[in-house]
């Protein structure tokens, strides 16, 4: 049984806070960007224009079939060739996660759109709304509300996955814990602390999603 010294948690807190702020920023940007792009991808997949639907489908399938760590490494390697200048690990992480999560949000939005009864679309057309109008004012709001719990659950997964920016050395919460652990020579205590923080946040969020799920179910 090793000897532990948890007093390192005190001085580590400012670093953990900064790291956590980056983790949260990454999660929120990737979530909002991912949901917007994901919804566009879903519309493309459901579009009657076959090449567009194929292209969106291929993108989603590709993202879903390779490991996230590899996607992170890929983007970190390729983005500098596209932009012409090197980007930092943090910027690269934000671009990567938005692009990667879009594929997963796309599948959620697609099943959300498909879960809206066909009568809604017919009714919207009968009222004189055009295709785009009925999508924006009738179908998407309902799809979004029905899928809200699933979208949030995916966001919890995303929050956990952001820890994988470790692969390119971006300074998220886990990296902060790692650095403090090395500086104070207390790596074990710092791993435990980061595990506890992740657990506390994810567990409370998932309880909140369960509550929300019950309320959404009643409205429906």
């Amino acid at each position: 049984m090793g000897e532990f010294d948890f007093s390192v948690w005190g001085p580590s807190l400012p670093f953990i806070r900064d790291g956590l702020l980056f983790t949260l920023r990454l999660t929120l940007v990737a979530m909002s960007g991912g949901i917007v792009i994901g919804t566009l991808l879903a519309l493309a997949r459901l579009s009657p224009i076959v090449p567009l639907a194929r292209l969106a489908g291929a993108y989603v399938d590709l993202m879903r079939s390779i490991p996230l760590v590899l996607v992170i490494l890929w983007f970190f390697l390729v983005i500098p060739y596209i932009t012409g200048s090197p980007v930092g690990a943090e910027t690269s992480a934000i671009i990567t996660f938005t692009a990667f999560e879009a594929a997963f949000y796309c599948e959620i939005m697609r099943s959300g759109i498909q879960s809206v009864p066909r009568g809604q679309l017919n009714a919207a057309h009968a009222l004189g709304l055009g295709r785009a109008q009925s999508m924006i004012h009738v179908i998407l709001p309902q799809a979004l509300r029905n899928m809200l719990p699933v979208l949030l659950t995916q966001t919890i997964v995303l929050f956990q996955d952001t820890s994988l920016v470790y692969a390119i050395g971006a300074k998220d919460m886990l990296k902060a814990a790692d650095v403090v652990g090395k500086n104070y020579n207390r790596p074990v205590e710092m791993i435990v602390l980061s595990a506890l923080i992740y657990f506390a946040i994810c567990f409370s969020l998932s309880l909140a999603v369960k509550q929300l799920q019950k309320r959404v179910a009643i409205i429906r």
Partner: protein
């Protein structure tokens, strides 16, 4: 775009040694398969057991099963890897701790396989619970009315049906195991992602490297998918699947 393509790079020797880069990737594929398949066997065994426990009438067992699932679901896999690798040995009795740290053979592999196995078991437990829950209540009642004990009812009646129902979600879990095994690079398992990073640094041919590795992961996931589809077709019970699907 001034990238220098060099597709011959795979057959060139690495900077320090007689191996070629292809040898590195083959070693990587071997470890990826070893970690994933070991973890999958562990995950299936524990996941089915925990999933079944969560559907029993005992509130204690259900509670324990729930704790298991929540623990593994709410901490990132990478953090779990670090916990198993750096933290758990510290909590063992002194002799064991020393043995694990200094003498345990293939320490990184064993740790990664256990970690990934338990992580996946929580997800399988969730699928199995849903599968058992989707069976008509009459199946359990009839089994018990015939005089089977509860364990017998699970073994002979409930699980054989529930497991067939959950094969599609298990298929995607099986594919996830291969993807998630990439996280094992962080504790030094010489699997594909580790080799990819190493080859990129050593050869400076990043795009060829990652294309090859992406292809290898793709083949793993595709084979897993086809394998499960074969099992699904072989174990199909016509009436049951038709009704539930």
């Amino acid at each position: 775009m001034n990238y220098h393509w060099n597709w011959g790079i795979f057959l060139e020797p690495v900077k320090s040694g007689d191996e070629t880069y292809l040898d590195w990737l083959i070693t990587g594929l071997g470890w990826t398969l070893a970690v994933s398949l070991t973890a999958w066997l562990l995950a299936l065994t524990i996941g089915i057991a925990v999933g079944a426990l969560r559907t029993t009438p005992s509130r204690l067992l259900v509670g324990l099963g729930n704790v298991w699932v929540e623990l593994f679901r709410n901490v990132p896999l990478l953090v779990q890897m670090f916990l198993w690798f750096f933290v758990v040995p510290e909590f063992l009795p002194r002799d064991w701790s020393l043995w694990v740290k200094q003498e345990m053979p293939a320490k990184e592999f064993v740790t990664a396989a256990i970690c990934l196995g338990l992580f996946t078991s929580a997800r399988i437990a969730e699928q199995v619970r849903a599968g058992v829950g989707s069976l008509p209540r009459g199946q359990r009642d009839a089994a018990l009315a015939l005089g089977l004990t509860l364990p017998q009812a699970y073994r002979q009646v409930i699980l054989p049906q529930a497991l067939r129902i959950v094969i599609p979600p298990l298929t995607s879990e099986f594919m996830n195991v291969f993807k998630n095994s990439s996280v094992a690079f962080a504790i030094g398992v010489l699997e594909l992602t580790f080799q990819a990073r190493q080859m990129q640094e050593d050869s400076e041919q990043g795009i060829e490297t990652y294309l090859a590795v992406t292809l290898l992961y793709f083949i793993c996931a595709f084979t897993a998918n086809r394998g499960m589809a074969w099992i699904e077709a072989r174990t199909r019970v016509p009436g049951l699947i038709a009704r539930s699907g």
